[in-house]
Amino acid sequence: MTKEAVENAPAPFELTYDTDAGQVSFPLHQSLFCLDAIYGAAYLFIDKCWLFLSRPNEDGIVVHLKPKEAVDQGGLDEIAGEFANELLNQSIRVRLSESTRSLREYYMSRAFFTTPVQSSIDALLAELDAEELEDDELEISVPWEEDNG
């Protein structure tokens, strides 16, 4: 890697969070993470952390996570990383849900509220039944029980 390439390389991303008094605080902007995504991520951490959400301004939400069991700085960093990953996961879920909403509603309405059309299988079965009732001049259709004793 040339010196110029090293100088022009983008700075590595740093996860923005604070660790103070044994807890992790995530300042989040709602333009990046919707409330449903924050709820989804927070819900998954309820069992191992004490959580609190605050709203310092109109567009910002701060998520405070305090582990239920005592952890060191490395443990706090791990929780912060896991929460950040889960935030992204939940954001994608919300985005996918919104993009497929109309399609899901369409299929649900088709399944529950439309008159079912007789399937081709039903038509074939009806045709076979009709044939069985006709006279068998060549005596081909012999019941299995008679044919095999």
């Binding site: 819900y43 609190f52 959400l53």
Partner: protein, 75 residues
């Protein structure tokens, strides 16, 4: 000797007032919680047992997410 009271402010932009009340009822047997609903922006809870504050806040969040979710449009 007066009981120690801890005050927690739940922003109504992220927490539901109904969720705070539901959590208050769930904790009624073990902790006294007095609610101040006079502000439209927040619900103030005054709790008698500081050791249960974290658990109470978790329960409020749980109730909000499960049963009384705040939608973006109502913020």
């Amino acid at each position: 000797m007066a009981d120690e009271v801890t005050t927690v402010e739940f922003s109504t932009k992220v927490y539901s007032g109904a969720a705070v009340q539901a959590a208050r009822e769930a904790y009624a047997a073990i902790m006294d919680v007095a609610l101040d609903l006079s502000s439209a922006d927040k619900v103030i809870a005054r709790c008698s047992n500081p050791d249960l504050i974290d658990a109470f806040c978790n329960h409020v969040l749980f109730e909000t997410i499960q049963n009384f979710r705040v939608t973006e449009g109502t913020q």
